[in-house]
Amino acid sequence: MERLQSPDVRGIAPNPPVLAKGYTYDAITEKISDLSLNPKLTRGWLGGFSIAITLAGCMVVAIIHLLFTGVGIWGNNQPVGWAFDIINFVWWIGIGHAGTLISAILLLLKQNWRTSINRFAEAMTIFAVACAGLYPLLHTGRPWLDYWLFPFPNSMGVQQQFRSPLLWDVFAISTYASVSALYWFVGLIPDLAVLRDRAVKPVARKIYAILALGWRGSAQHWRRYRIAYLVLAGLSTPLVLSVHTIVSFDFAESLIPGWHTTIFPPYFVAGAIYSGFAMVLSLCIPLRKAYGLEGFITARHLNNMAKVMLAMGLVVGYGYAMEAFMAWYSGSPHEMGMFINRTTGPMAWSYWALIACNIVIPQTLWLRRARRSTLWLFIISIVVNVGMWLERFVIIVTSLYRDFIPSSWHTYVPTIWDFAMFFGTIGFFLTLFFLFIRYVPVISIAEMRELSHEVEHGHH
């Protein structure tokens, strides 16, 4: 166990702590639960929330227009049947990955630095999956028939076609969404009980009481809680790998040059984790600043997350390199054409921007100074998020818009409704996140107390 060297969270100590010194159980509880129970209506929160909910309103308008007019309001065409809809879907799903990875895999690996970030990372996962889920449901030509994707007894002759990766997607995403939500909720129970006990307002107390499911903190509760939590962690762990693997099958199973690639599953998972960590950073850096949580989310956390990002970035870089290599090695004029077109064609800007965002700029993370600079980390996290969005753009659009038969080549131009929907889901995500910050402990109180004990006294 690391020893605490300095209370200075921004200190240059080689190994900063996972929890600043001086936090007692009470202090932890006070600090975190106060955010939920006695939230100050700060100008920052109010401003951010207004922007977020305005954008979410855009999304609602975009969805209503979509339902009444059809997917033709977007820029999708023949041959580019999928564009912003699936780009954003994959992007959001990828973002969700960090939450599961942090809370499940790092839990199993007993990485105690995960404790202070897992709660909102998990929340981020759920919100991201909610945003992601909107796209496949809305991108169909007849969204009111989406329920045909689920196996249900019917007399219409509607039957699912299990060879289609889209159907695998349906199960992968719905499993992922439900397990993530359950996991998050189970983890919340002790904290909800804390809020119930500390809440003054009767309504809040009532709601927290219902949600706390009668938690009393008895040893028996803790024992069962621990088991349930670990089981769910165990369930979530394969999901981290499976969900994005299956999402990647949407592409890998097809025969379109640029999609038909065996490297996609690991490459997609790495990309997902990459973007997920970037999003966690993008969210936690302003959060810890705004709410003074530097003591809980320390430089150590940022440093570790930067390292994960760097590693994942390299895996993704390997993926890009292999795509290039296979284009050449396949000897297929179509594969080669795809790669040349990506790198030199009319949409080459997207490829090179992607390389810059995902490969070149994040290399600065090799420098400790870069990993210690919250500003730089924040910038990089945004850059990587943009890069990962571009990656999906490159994979989906630049593969489709020029495939086998040149006569069918046709460019793709997004419409205002594509952007309305995209920024709308960002707004929706942020709206949920702002509400989360306000009503739910953003950091696990129970686990932080545990951590503080561990930090003070070492492992039991």
Binding site: G141, R142, W148, L149, Q161, V170, L255, P406
Partner: protein, 1039 residues
């Protein structure tokens, strides 16, 4: 409410009571005061009496809707109409059902579509009395079972809700009765004046009955004058024949006997009348699918790229003047008497080194088996030269057949129209009756037709649209569609077809026969009676003095004698008229009515006259010439309101919903233009602004403009689409404006195509080789494109029973678009409009890809029709999550629209990108007349559903029912897809590949057969036959 200057005429023309009622009111007051007026009983009475037939519109949901839409000005009247209680309607079922009338089973009727004076024989499919699909009549010489795209689209023309629906008097709704009443007084006056001041303007007429009626009309009004004008007319052909032979003759070509063809800018495969038949004959001599007996060889000179040039073995792109010089050089080299080379230019000199000598040698080696064809747009001198060359090569009577003209009254139409204008100026025209056509839009700009037309006291227009001319007329009379009324017409070889209607007029229209009959003082005759009476020969037709045809005094004499007495051919069989009539209706042709061949002799002095004419045409070396051509889809603009044709990509540019100034890339570069730059083209003080389109293979130093765009009153579809280039087309330069100006304006204009990329990128897409290579080694293509064997881990599925497949012969395809439009008609495919095409959402189930190869100045052009490949291992099927696209047991890749939720994954995964998605509600589900047009055997797709070529599964199923009833397999040829059926060159073969004797199975056995993207392992059922060319070995190395 149209023009104040017409007020003075109003009393004379309108129903008096109506006129009096409104005489003291201006338009504004009229509308404002409507409610008060409507309260009065007189007004109600007047409306009832004035619009007895209009009133029936309110009962008819078709009529009512469009009536409302189109007659915006009559909105207020509509309010009155809606107040009236609708009478009860009785529905009466068949008490005794006609024997052949089975609901759900279509019947076919033979008829013919007249266009520009020539008929194409058709068999039209009718579902419960509604014509739904046009097919060619295999017995008809101009069709042989095929049609072109325009004929296919005529069915949409029939149901076009913008077609003129009611008689208009000064743009106000009137009735036939009111017209008849009004005109009765005029008829008396005309008769009294012997027709002085009465002028008729018609299009080219070949209908024997109409010709006879016109003759009677001229007999009734001896001083009346009959003018003719066809905007894309064949004046040059007529005058060329006259120059060569001293008389008008009809020239038809027998490409099925021609081994070497020299085309002087002749687009005989697409826009020349007779192109459907010519395409068939041409491809017969090029067919390689069966046993290879050799191929014809086509040499083409042209300025503006045409599909004929695109399939030529040797093509030279020359500016218009150089085309003439080159033709003369060929004529001189052939040793045509009296011909010596005329002028020279570097381009022609370059051709003179090898091209022309090789051509001449080839022609001379094929005396009597070659043909020289001059384009309709070439000057009379070139036509005369072509006649002389054909005579010198011994082609007359073998590959070139001369007959009397098919048209009733051949004349120089430009002169005829010019004379009309002069007489208007001199005040001699009191009444002008425009019988068909739209001269206000199409007349040469220098004649200022619209301006002069309005100087005429009484202007009557009969036409199928309330168009530019109708707007300027006192009376507009709606003409019936050819599928709505009786008529007759002649094919290019003179064969007569009776045009029988498939449906009663949808709206209140009459045929031209009836209109002429009204003008002739017999207002009650029906078209049926008129046509029958003519063929019965009942009319004693006194041969009048031939109609005075101003502008060309000899024209009248050239009218064939046959036109002057009785029917042009006997329809009776063994003296039995009824039997003969029925047979003619049944077969669609009058047997033995083709004109006999004749052999006119060349005028001695033709060469001098031709040379003089050539010298008169300015041929500046550096000048920018404008070449006018009919639009390959819209022709002269009469089809502008037909969405199928607007959206059918033009064969070479793939442009839709627009025209452009087509120029070569070199010319564009030299002048600093780019595609979509707007330039102002000027000719003789006339200007028009038009966007540029860089077109590889265009001759340098000139530009092409397609006619037919920029209509202002064609209807909702065609208005303001493209640029009206008639604005700079003058009567002295109908096809070629020499020394025009063209300057960049700095503006930009979006041009939309269905194909944005024209290179094959070195991929194995269109395979092509030469006949010589093939003769040397049949399997040369297979050896060149080695394909790895595709091994599957699974046991291959065997198809028992039928296995449907298609073979497309790339040698034969001329990119005429007939299949594209036929498919659209058969399969209820919607039109999406320019914006959606630009978005990449065109819906055609079959597309014709066009690729360029080689030098941009003289590229090779390849066409590839691409329907669904119906892969045996279809990538689309495995990815659909809801099983909406599945494999049929006969190998069809089937779409289940009801199951489709629209994920579009199938389309993404289709390597051929043949799937089409309804991104929006593209089908027009509201317009009632379109509901009648649709094929009831094919689902109309709604928004959010994927669709694609089905191999016309509805046709397979209807054949299957017949076969099952007889307990047998479906025979070869029993199922023909719409694209295969319509193809003029029979490039598409469809059938059961399990039947070894079927034509498609045989085609697929050819060593030229290959699967597109076969290395993907999709095992497509649609395969291609390698394109073969037959270049002259002297001109092309390795050929």
């Amino acid at each position: 409410m149209q023009n104040d200057n017409q007020t003075s005429n109003r009393k004379a023309l309108d129903n008096p009571s109506f006129t009096e009622h409104l005489a003291n009111k201006t338009g504004r007051q009229y509308w404002r005061g409507l409610e008060e007026i409507a309260e009065t009983t007189e007004f109600r009475e007047m409306v009832d009496r004035e619009f007895p037939e209009g009133a029936s519109e309110w009962l008819d949901p078709v009529g009512r809707r469009n009536f409302l839409k189109l007659m915006g000005a009559s909105l207020a009247l509509a309010g009155i109409g809606a107040c009236a209680k609708q009478p009860e309607e009785k529905i009466v079922p068949y008490v005794k059902q006609p024997e052949e009338f089975v609901p759900g089973k279509p019947s076919f009727f033979a008829t013919a579509m007249p266009l520009r004076g020539y008929a194409t024989g058709l068999l039209v499919e009718s579902h419960l009395g509604r014509p739904t699909k046009v097919e060619g009549n295999p017995d008809h010489p101009a069709s042989l079972g095929a049609t072109d795209a325009i004929t296919q689209a005529s069915i949409l023309g029939l149901y076009d809700p913008d077609r003129s629906q009611t008689v208009l008097s000064r743009s106000r709704i009137a009735s036939w009765d009111s017209f008849k009443t009004a005109i009765a007084a005029e008829v008396g006056a005309w008769k009294a004046a012997q027709g002085t001041g009465l002028h008729f303007l018609t299009e080219t007429i070949s209908s024997p009955t109409l010709a006879d009626q016109m003759r009677q009309l001229m007999a009734t009004y001896p001083n009346a004058v009959w003018h003719q004008y066809e905007p894309a007319g064949r004046d040059c052909v007529r005058e060329g024949a006259k120059m060569a032979f001293g008389q008008y003759v009809e020239t038809t070509y027998r490409f099925d006997k021609a081994e070497v063809i020299f085309s002087i800018d002749a687009d005989f495969l697409l826009t020349m009348p007779g192109s459907v038949r010519y395409s068939r004959d041409f491809s017969t001599m090029r067919r390689t699918a069966g046993e290879v007996k050799g191929m014809n060889r086509l040499y083409a000179l042209e300025s503006s790229p045409s599909v004929t040039g695109a399939v030529a073995d040797h093509r030279a792109a020359l500016a218009p003047a150089a085309v003439e010089q080159a033709a003369w050089a060929v004529g001189a080299a052939l040793g045509v008497p009296g011909v010596s080379a005329q002028g020279s230019s570097p381009a022609v000199d370059a051709l003179g080194k090898a091209w022309i000598p090789s051509l001449v040698k080839d022609l001379q080696a094929h005396r009597g088996r070659c043909v020289v064809v001059a384009g309709d747009e070439q000057s009379p001198a070139v036509h005369a030269l072509a006649h002389a060359m054909n005579a010198a090569l011994g082609n007359v009577g073998t590959t070139v057949v001369y007959t009397d003209p098919v048209e009733a009254n051949p004349t120089n139409q430009a002169a005829s129209l010019g004379a009309l204008m002069q007489q208007i100026d001199s005040g001699k025209v009191d009444t002008l009756v425009v019988l068909g056509g739209n001269p206000a839009f199409t007349a040469p700009a220098d004649l200022k037709f619209a301006e002069r037309y309005q100087k005429v006291r009484l202007r009557i227009h009969a036409g199928d649209y309330n168009d530019e001319t109708a707007y300027l007329s006192h009376w507009h009379l709606p003409l019936s569609h050819y599928l709505e009324n009786w008529s007759d017409a002649r094919a290019m070889d003179g064969t007569v077809s009776i045009v029988q209607p498939l449906v009663a007029p949808l709206w209140d229209s009459k045929s031209l026969h009836e209109v002429v009959s009204i003008l002739n003082g017999t207002p009650s005759a029906t078209a049926y009676d008129i046509v029958r009476a003519y063929w019965q020969g009942a009319k004693s037709a006194p041969a009048p003095a031939a109609a005075p045809t101003p502008g060309d005094s000899t024209a009248a004499h050239a009218a064939p004698a046959a036109m002057n007495a009785g029917p042009v051919a006997s329809i009776a069989v063994n003296g039995d008229f009824e039997r003969g009539w029925h047979q003619a209706l049944y077969r669609g042709i009058v047997a033995g009515s083709a004109l006999p061949p004749k052999s006119p002799t060349l005028n001695g002095g033709w060469a001098t006259a031709a040379a003089a004419l050539l010298a008169a045409t300015p041929a500046g070396a550096d000048a920018f010439d404008i070449v006018f051509r009919v639009d390959p889809m819209l022709l002269d603009g009469r089809f502008a309101n037909i969405g199928w044709l607007q959206e059918a990509p033009k064969p070479l540019t793939k442009l839709v919903w627009d025209n452009a100034l087509l120029v070569s890339p070199a010319t564009a570069k030299q002048r600093g233009w780019k595609t979509e730059d707007v330039v102002e083209v000027g000719y003789k003080n006339l200007t028009v602004k038009v966007p540029v389109w860089e077109m590889p293979g265009h001759a340098d130093g000139c530009g092409t403009l397609y006619l037919g765009h920029g209509r202002t009153r064609s209807g909702r579809v065609g208005n303001d689409v493209g640029v009206n280039v008639y604005a700079i087309r003058t009567s002295d330069a109908p096809w070629r404006a020499a020394a025009a100006t063209a300057n960049k304006t700095g503006d930009c204009y979006l041009l939309v195509t269905t194909q944005t990329h024209y290179s094959m990128e070195g991929r194995d897409i269109v395979r092509h080789g030469t006949l010589a290579e093939f003769m040397a080694n049949e399997k040369f293509m297979e050896e060149r494109h080695h394909e790895p064997e595709i091994v599957s881990l699974y046991k291959e599925h065997t198809y028992k029973g039928h296995a449907w497949g298609m073979a497309i012969d790339l040698t034969a395809c001329t990119a005429c678009n007939a299949c594209v439009v036929a498919c659209q008609s058969e399969n209820n495919i919607p039109v999406v409009g320019k914006e959606q095409v630009n978005n990449g959402r065109a819906m055609h189930w079959i597309r014709i890809d066009r690729y360029y190869e080689g030098d941009a100045a003289a590229p090779a052009q390849h066409f590839q029709p691409l329907p669904c490949m119906h892969c045996e291992k279809a990538p689309c099927e495995t990815v659909c999550p809801v099983g909406a696209t599945v494999h049929g047991e006969e190998g069809l890749n089937e779409m289940v629209y009801n199951r489709c939720i629209g994920t579009r994954y199938c389309s993404n995964n289709c390597p051929y990108k043949v799937r089409r998605f309804n991104y929006l509600l593209f089908s027009d589900l509201d317009t009632p007349s379109f509901k009648m047009m649709r094929n009831p055997d094919v689902t109309v797709r709604s928004r959010g559903v994927m669709e694609k070529c089905t191999y016309c599964v509805q046709r397979i199923n209807s054949a299957r029912i017949e076969a099952k009833k007889e307990g047998r397999m479906i025979r070869d040829g029993e199922v023909v897809t719409a694209c295969a059926q319509v193809c003029p060159t029979e490039a598409i073969t469809f059938g059961n590949i399990n039947d070894k004797d079927s034509r498609v199975a045989k085609a697929k056995k050819s060593p030229l057969n290959y699967a597109l993207l076969g290395d993907l392992g999709t095992a497509p059922r649609t395969t291609y036959l390698t394109k073969l060319r037959n270049p002259n070995p002297e001109l092309e190395k390795g050929a």
